[in-house]
Structure formats: C-alpha cells, structure tokens
Assembly symmetry: C2
Homo-oligomer: 109 residues x 2
DNA sequence: TGAATAGTTCGACAATAATCGAACTATTAT
DNA sequence: ATAATAGTTCGATTATTGTCGAACTATTCA
C-alpha cells in the first residue's frame, strides 16, 4: 500500500496553484471534488485516456491541491481544503465561486 | 493616439486570468500595480528586455487584468479591479493577499 | 496462480508559451 | 526635419506542457 508524496502546506506555491487551476480540465476536477470527496480518479476521467488523467492528477498533487490516498486498488482523491485555507485564506473558495460564475454563460465570442 | 483593444468584462475567462497570474513576473506586475496605479511599463520592467515586457503586458491585457491607456508617448497601465470585482468577486483581492503571504518566506526547499 | 481492476510510468510527439534581438511606430521635444 | 522616448511587432529559438499508446505495478477476487 505505497502512498504518494504530498508537499507540506508551507511549501505550497501560489503560482503553481494558479497554474494547476488554469487548465480547464484540472479546474473541473477540482470543482467536482469540491462537491463530492473523496473520490477515485475514474469518475472524474471524462473521455481522456488514463495516462492523461494521471498526469493531471500529478500536477494537482504537486501543487498541493489534491491529496491522494491509496485504498486498496483505488486512489481516493480529496481537496486539501483545510490546509489551503490555512496557507492562502479564501483562495480556493473564491476561485471555485468564480468558476461557478463563468459557467452557464453564452460561449465566449 | 491609437488605443488598445480590451475585452469586455463579460468575456473574462477565469482560466485565462489564472494562467496570466501563474507567471511570477506577471504576478509581480499586478502586485506593483495594485499599490500604485496607473503606471507606465518602464518602472515595472525589471531587467527584462522591452519585447518580453511587452509580451507579458499583452497577456495581462488579453486576460482582462490590465487596462492600458496610451497617453502621449507613455502607456499607462492600471488594474481593471472594479470590473474584475464585478465579474469574479473577491478573486483579485484574494490572490493578491495570497501573493503577499507567499513572499518573505524561507526559500522553497 | 491467474485474471481483472485502477492507476502509474515511460517515451515520443504536438501544442503552447517564454525569451530576446532587430526593426518598426507613434509621440514629444529641439 | 531630426532625434529621443516608450513601447510594439516580427521572427527565430528554446522551454514547458499536454496528449496518448504501450508496458508496468499493486491490489483484489475467483
């Protein structure tokens, strides 16, 4: 049951977090996790091949957004929301609110 | 006195904003502007060549973060903070606070 | 043990983005 | 008109990211 490395909260880098969330697919993963967590990778996969999904989760983990717990054969992902809140208060919540706002609008012309 | 194109606030894309701010140099420009605006490009230039600076300002403009007003020979930049606040409440402020927090810490090991 | 499941790692390729010199544009000052 | 100033645009180069198939690992189940 080998587990992942996760950076400690003190090592979170704002620019890495912003970069991680600047990808629409990764942002959508974080949005879905914010509603239901923890959750394995599979339901968040969309139509992408597993190797891409794995790559994006790795980016999210390295930025400190997601913690992945290996439980048997599935990898359970959750947001590190408490740690993020302690390190960068309001950041995740505000970005998630903004993400919710930018949906359901007429396609960007 | 030709002026720039700036996207309307309704067209702001969260992911473009996050991407723009995920670059440390651009983030530092936005930080400096938040303290003193409007401001020409030159004082924000650092040690970079003009063409790079120009590129980064273009990214910031296209994301909707910065408005550039051509005044005579200088280009005065300011944050589009009111419009950003209307479109994505709290976003810019929270990111700037996070940026302030992530400074003055021991180098990331 | 063997097969199924869930996801990772590797490696190659494509796409996007950053960097920077050189030439250019617009405005102001002489 | 000429020159100086402030910044842009172009084009080439490099660096960083994203994508995806194929092979691999770890765990569970039969």
């Amino acid at each position: 049951m080998k587990q992942y490395e996760h950076p400690p909260a003190e090592a979170f880098q704002l620019t890495a977090i912003l970069h991680a969330l600047s990808d629409p697919y990764r942002l959508s993963i974080v949005q879905k996790l914010s509603v239901l967590q923890p959750q394995p990778c599979a339901p968040l996969q969309g139509d992408r091949p597993k190797s891409s999904v794995s790559h994006h989760f790795s980016v999210l983990r390295k930025a400190g957004l997601v913690r992945t717990l290996v439980v048997g054969v599935t990898h359970m992902n959750s947001l590190r929301d408490a740690e993020l809140e302690a390190r960068f208060p309001g950041l995740l919540k505000t970005i998630l609110e903004a993400a919710a706002r930018s949906e359901g609008l007429p396609a960007q012309v």
